[in-house]
């Protein structure tokens, strides 16, 4: 390598250089990620630091960008379905639902009633498993190792149950246009109800062991408060928004499927909208999801798991539609256009994590680097979903 080349590398790449020197002297440009353990995947943040304090932050995305939207245009409607489990690997079934729901809306496909219930049950189970991973990993970021072991222990049972119906453990592709791919077995229903009972015994232990812990509270309370103005400007949704006290949940706001038949609460933060509020909202959501699962399984209607009129070969009419569901991280939207061909003309995927992460740069201005780790974890990002 010639000396000139070496110096060019020292100056950093495009993104490091594009963070122009700031108003103060003696600042340090630091690359956090893309392999930093607290960025959960491959997120990189270029930081400008004054000592331990962050002056500016610039998230750099795209390290796991797979051009899902282009794949939507070169695959048929049905072929694109497995992609959905890969967009957000933690709440794959919500993405299944957002896409399948958009196609059903566009083509006027009806869904059988039993399938609607099964969609609710599996999607809520998946939401809980997503929150478990967040919970364990977030505490790992904050220096507590044990909780992830408990979370993964409970999650393992949950994944075993989901494996019975969906056949997979992470990147589910269970929903079909007009229903779901397979019916549930009596063992699944029984096992899930038993697991719900087990979880209700475990959650108080989670609280006693972790939530009430003074070290956790000091790392989360009054850290990264998001006010309503900021939340609305950036289009934050999901627990990040609800932590700030807004009871906005797509399951209630734009009820889809059979969610209007179940009793459940929308947990919201109590005060500042800080990291602790977001933490508490997610834990409360686990309990609410358990409520939904139990109600749905106890009133599970008989019938086929696919609608009799479900299309064998899908032919989409010309048109445009938008369909949104509530994922573990917030509002998942699919904007779908069809020109009447066998492939979608355009698929736009709205990832909740994308909007939630976009407020990070403003939020961490002036905070300690160690607190930025806590804030980042409290946003619960899944990078494949953000990069798509």
């Amino acid at each position: 390598m010639n000396p000139e080349q070496a110096f060019r590398n020292l100056a950093g790449d495009f993104y490091t250089r594009s963070l122009q020197p700031g108003p103060t002297e003696n600042t340090l440009i630091l690359n956090m990620g893309p392999q930093h353990p607290s960025t959960h995947g491959v997120l990189r943040i270029v930081l400008e630091l004054d000592g331990e304090y962050i002056l500016r932050a610039d998230p750099v995305l795209g390290y796991i960008h797979r051009m899902h939207e282009k794949m939507g245009e070169v695959k048929t409607f049905a072929q694109y379905l497995p992609n959905m489990g890969r967009v957000d690997y933690l709440h794959a079934l919500a993405w299944n639902w957002a896409y399948v729901g958009a196609v059903e809306k566009l083509c006027g496909v009806e869904v059988s009633e039993r399938a609607e219930y099964l969609r609710v049950v599996t999607s809520e189970m998946n939401r809980i498993s997503s929150h478990f991973v967040w919970w364990g990993a977030y505490l790992l970021d904050l220096g507590a190792f044990t909780p992830i072991m408990y979370a993964f222990d409970d999650r393992e049972w949950l994944l075993d149950l989901l494996q019975i119906v969906t056949g997979s453990r992470l990147t589910y592709c269970y929903f079909r246009f007009g229903g779901v791919s397979d019916d549930v077995t009596p063992e699944f229903v029984e096992g899930t109800l038993k697991w719900c009972e087990h979880m209700r015994e475990r959650l108080p232990m989670y609280k006693a062991l972790v939530t009430d812990n003074v070290i956790l509270r000091n790392r989360c309370e009054e850290i990264g408060p998001i006010d309503l103005d900021m939340a609305r400007r950036y289009g934050a949704t999901g627990p990040v928004l609800r932590g700030s006290g807004v009871a906005y949940d797509v399951r209630r706001a734009e009820p889809y499927s059979v969610y209007d038949r179940f009793q459940f609460e929308i947990p919201v933060g109590t005060g500042a909208g800080d990291a602790m509020d977001r933490y508490l909202v997610r834990l409360a959501e686990i309990e609410q999801s358990l409520n939904i699962i139990e109600q749905a399984l106890k009133t599970l209607p008989e019938g086929p798991h696919m609608h009799e009129k479900a299309p064998k070969r899908l032919k989409a009419p010309k048109g445009e539609t938008y369909f949104a569901v509530e994922g573990a991280r917030g509002k998942i939207g699919v904007h779908l256009l069809s020109d009447g061909g066998k492939n979608p003309y355009r698929v736009k995927l709205r990832a909740p994590g994308f909007s939630n992460l976009s407020l990070f740069a403003e939020l961490v201005r002036g905070v300690l680097l160690a607190d930025a780790v806590s804030i980042l974890g409290s946003l619960d990002m899944v990078i494949p979903e953000i990069d798509r």
Binding site: G319, Y322, Y345
Partner: protein
């Protein structure tokens, strides 16, 4: 739910649409120079930005803005058509900060330039890629009338109704 703010908007065309079919309550077609005022009115009415989606059509790029409301949910869609030769739309990132990344992403994928954007650099794609991957070939482009509005009634029943899916 009050939509008087939409009725007051300056726009080319305003349509109240069937929410269950199109996913939007209102579809408002605006000129590029009216985008900022429309985004401002949406902000004042309490709306937040969901996303910005671009569609490549024969007539040009259709830039689609989706907005929604916390307390009175119901999507409002703004649509702007800009020609391929001069794909420029004013930025709304100074009103809805979240639009910043959506605009950068749209610039990545389609090359639509959002004028006045504070930092229109690549977001998801490499900085030296040199092309816009979601552009369609001219012969593949559909016309605006064909797809960008949900027809009132589908002309034909789209699916054959028999049997179970595989």
């Amino acid at each position: 739910m009050s939509f008087t703010w939409i009725e007051k908007l300056e726009a080319e065309k305003k349509t109240e649409t069937d929410y269950r079919k199109s996913g939007s309550r209102w579809e408002v077609v605006v000129k590029p120079e009216q985008v900022e005022a429309a985004a401002r009115a949406a902000w004042d009415a309490g709306y937040f930005i969901e996303d910005i989606s671009v569609v490549d059509l024969q007539e040009g790029f259709l830039v689609v803005y989706h907005f929604d409301h916390w307390q009175s949910p119901g999507r409002v869609t703004f649509k702007v058509l800009v020609p391929h030769e001069k794909p420029e739309v004013p930025t709304i990132s100074h009103i809805h900060s979240g639009a910043n990344w959506h605009e950068r992403e749209s610039f990545d994928f389609f090359g639509v330039v959002f004028t006045g954007h504070p930092d229109l650099k690549p977001l998801l794609l490499p900085d030296d890629l040199g092309f816009h991957p979601l552009l369609k070939k001219p012969e593949e482009r559909a016309s605006l009338d064909a797809i960008a509005n949900v027809p009132e009634k589908p002309q034909e029943k789209p699916q054959e109704a028999s049997g179970q899916a595989p």
